[in-house]
């Protein structure tokens, strides 16, 4: 496989996520740290989680439970492109299940999985808060509103 294809997945900035020493153990430190890690990698890598546990003095078990209970902090590695389809009430009634099904058959994977060639990851979200533009699909962090079924291939490729 051509390694350059993974360029989207590996962040340009190779340094680890930095935390401000002042914030350690303060209000909401873990949540903000996890959100920062997620922003950079689009998933929570185990190495970063271990580093965070060591830095904050919180057990891995607690961190893993927080990730497991959350809809957003996925610990599964993502492919080159991350496709998130919102399945909130409004999107659900505006053909989101059909979008998910179309993507499932195009990519051959279920929501939450990554294609074997590592190119696409498909996820669903409970509600991304953009109900005014339902159905919403997020490709690599970029929101696409009022997605039409017939355009799903185009949208998917970016």
């Amino acid at each position: 496989m051509d390694p350059s294809r993974h360029s989207v997945c590996v962040p340009d900035d190779k340094s680890e996520v930095r935390y401000s020493e002042d914030d350690l153990g303060k209000t909401g430190f873990i949540l903000n740290a996890l959100s920062d890690i997620f922003d950079r990698y689009r998933y929570i890598p185990a190495e970063e989680l271990e580093r965070l546990a060591g830095k904050a003095g919180v057990s891995m078990k607690v961190l893993k439970t927080i990730c497991a209970r959350s809809d957003s902090y996925s610990t599964e590695r993502v492919g080159d492109r991350l496709i998130v389809v919102c399945d909130g009430t409004v999107c659900h009634n505006r053909h989101a299940p059909d979008l998910i099904q179309a993507l499932t058959s195009i990519l051959g994977i279920k929501p939450g999985e990554t294609t074997p060639d590592g190119r696409y990851t498909l996820r669903t979200a409970a509600c991304v808060g953009n109900c005014d533009e339902a159905p919403v699909m997020i490709v690599d962090g970029e929101k696409r509103g009022r997605v039409k079924l017939a355009e799903v291939r185009k949208q998917m490729k970016g």
Binding site: G25, K26, T27, G28, F29, I30, L31, N32, L34, S35, F38, A56, V58, V62, T65, I66, R69, S70, D71, S72, Y73, G88, T89, V90, H92, N93, R94, H95, D98, Q101, A102, S105, I106, A125, A126, C127, V128, G129, N130, C131, D132, A134, K148, L149, A150, V152
Partner: protein, 495 residues
């Protein structure tokens, strides 16, 4: 997005970050805060104004704001008596809206962040809290950006300091913790770097909250109302809304054919008047039903035209929730919508009460059967039974409210359930109950559907009418949206 400009919260809406502070100050913003910090009005005066205004919590339950603030002050004075010195509190603005179909907090943080900041700072001064926390969702990246920008502006303009010393600072926490973290005790646990699960009350957060200190957890919208009340007086606020629910409320209207978005209306407005701002069509002909208040709200026929205030809604078996209004039209299947909500609640159930865990599981199974066309005749009777039993035998709010949508739709939309029992979905939404066909006369054989279909179910040759292989068809609607000749149609599968 439709943004009605009639009332205070939305009138101050300004999408341009650079102009927000000046336009907010122009209309009298931060006057209330400076009056409080310079001693022109006292904390007691603020509390008295809040009490007189009758402001109720905008997060859903409608608990009086003055009572919440009062409880925090009481535990502060109690602590002060026990130990010498001046104890401090925390102020948390809850902007973690996880209800599907609600984004009023996002709109406020993006377009009127200074009202939220001023409201938090007023609470901070009244409750002796030097630090506030804005707890919001990770997904709201633009809202966070706007809020942080506004906060920096306010700090640099010296609005949050007195004699060169900063008296109030706000920490923004972006949570990806999930739906349950919106519950106030779970929220405090999550902020203390623990797992975000609720704890039993008492002790209430007003006694033992964040880091063991008295804590005020209030919805973003409630706090944003505070500066306007102090500035314009309680009588002005009481001039809007009803006797028991004064003021205005932001509603999120979605599913409307014309537009959808945030609208600010007086409490006590009729639903149809709210919808009128979004679409010109008569509501009764355009829509079938309305869902108010998220997963724990009820589904009502559009003709009921409910009055939107806390007490009127609960009297007809609904709740205000955070103010989400989802309109359902003839293409939306009521049974499928109920199935979706029950599945959502089932996923959130903690599993402590058997009636909630097992009952919702059974409801889900029955609703799955109904939407898949393999329901048993006794299923609807069983659903009616469960809709009464689950709330009776559940301890917490989730179980008590989870079947509200089921009970209300069984009462108002019994025909839809009866149709599904016979294997028919009138909205053509439930896939096992429908089939796609190509109308031969309309199809010129242009191959648009062939290139779109993900499962290779389209069969035929260029220039001749196509056919759909029903064994391969996944009923994804893609051929229908791709066809320029409207030649694909949906029919009942047992037709």
């Amino acid at each position: 997005m439709v943004d009605a400009c009639g009332y205070h919260l939305t009138r101050s809406f300004n999408p341009n970050q650079g102009e927000q502070l000046s336009s907010y100050i122009d209309e009298g913003g931060y006057a209330a805060l400076s009056a409080l910090s310079s001693g022109q009005i006292t904390a007691d005066g603020v509390l008295k104004a809040l009490e007189e205004s009758g402001l109720r919590g905008r997060g859903g339950a409608g608990y009086p704001a003055s009572a919440k603030w009062g409880a925090v002050r009481e535990s502060l004075s109690l602590e002060a008596r026990e130990s010498d010195g001046s104890p401090t509190a925390y102020v948390i603005a809850n902007g973690d809206e996880g209800d599907p179909g609600a984004f009023m907090n996002r709109a406020l943080m993006e377009q009127n962040p200074h009202a939220v900041i001023e409201g938090m700072a007023i609470a901070g001064l009244c409750l002796n809290a030097p630090e506030g926390v804005l707890f919001t969702r990770m997904e709201y990246s633009y809202a966070v950006e706007s809020f942080v920008f506004a906060l920096e502006e306010a700090k640099q303009a010296g609005l949050l300091s007195k004699d060169g010393e900063c008296f109030f600072d706000i920490k923004v926490v972006r949570s990806g913790g999930g739906y349950l973290c919106g519950e106030s005790t779970a929220l405090v646990n999550a902020l203390q770097n623990k797992v975000g699960i609720p704890r039993t009350k008492p002790p209430h957060l007003s006694e033992t909250g964040l880091w063991g200190k008295p804590t005020l957890v209030s919805n973003v919208e409630t706090l944003a109302n505070v500066p306007y009340i102090i500035r314009n007086g309680a009588d002005w606020f009481r001039g809007m809304g009803t006797e028991a629910s004064p003021g205005t409320k932001l509603f999120c209207v979605t599913g409307a054919k014309g537009q959808s978005g945030v609208i600010e209306s007086e409490l006590g407005t009729k639903l149809h008047d709210v919808i009128a701002a979004f679409s010109q069509d008569a509501p009764s002909t355009s829509y079938r039903a309305v869902q108010i208040g998220g997963p724990s709200g009820s589904i009502l026929p559009i003709d009921v035209n409910p009055t939107l205030d806390y007490d009127s809604l609960s009297s007809i078996g609904g709740i205000m929730g955070s103010g989400g209004i989802v309109l359902l039209d003839h293409t939306d299947c009521i049974v499928e919508t109920v199935r979706y909500y029950i599945a959502f609640s089932q996923g959130q159930s903690c599993g402590r009460c058997r009636s909630c865990k097992d009952g919702l599981e059974e409801c889900s199974a029955i609703l799955d059967r109904l939407t898949e066309g393999r329901a048993l005749p006794e299923d609807i009777g069983r659903l009616e039974e469960l809709a009464i039993k689950i709330p009776e035998n559940s301890k917490c709010g989730l179980g008590k409210a989870a079947t509200r949508c089921l009970a209300s739709s069984l009462r108002h939309f019994g025909d839809d359930f009866a149709d599904h029992l016979k294997g028919r979905c009138r909205a053509h939404k439930c896939k096992p109950l429908i089939r796609f066909e190509v109308v031969e006369d309309k199809c010129p054989g242009c191959r648009c559907c062939l290139t779109t279909c993900p499962s290779n179910a389209m069969q035929g040759k260029l220039g001749r009418p196509f056919k759909i292989d029903q064994n391969l068809c996944e009923k994804c609607w893609m051929c229908m949206t791709a066809c320029p000749y409207y030649a694909v149609e949906v029919v009942d599968s047992n037709h």
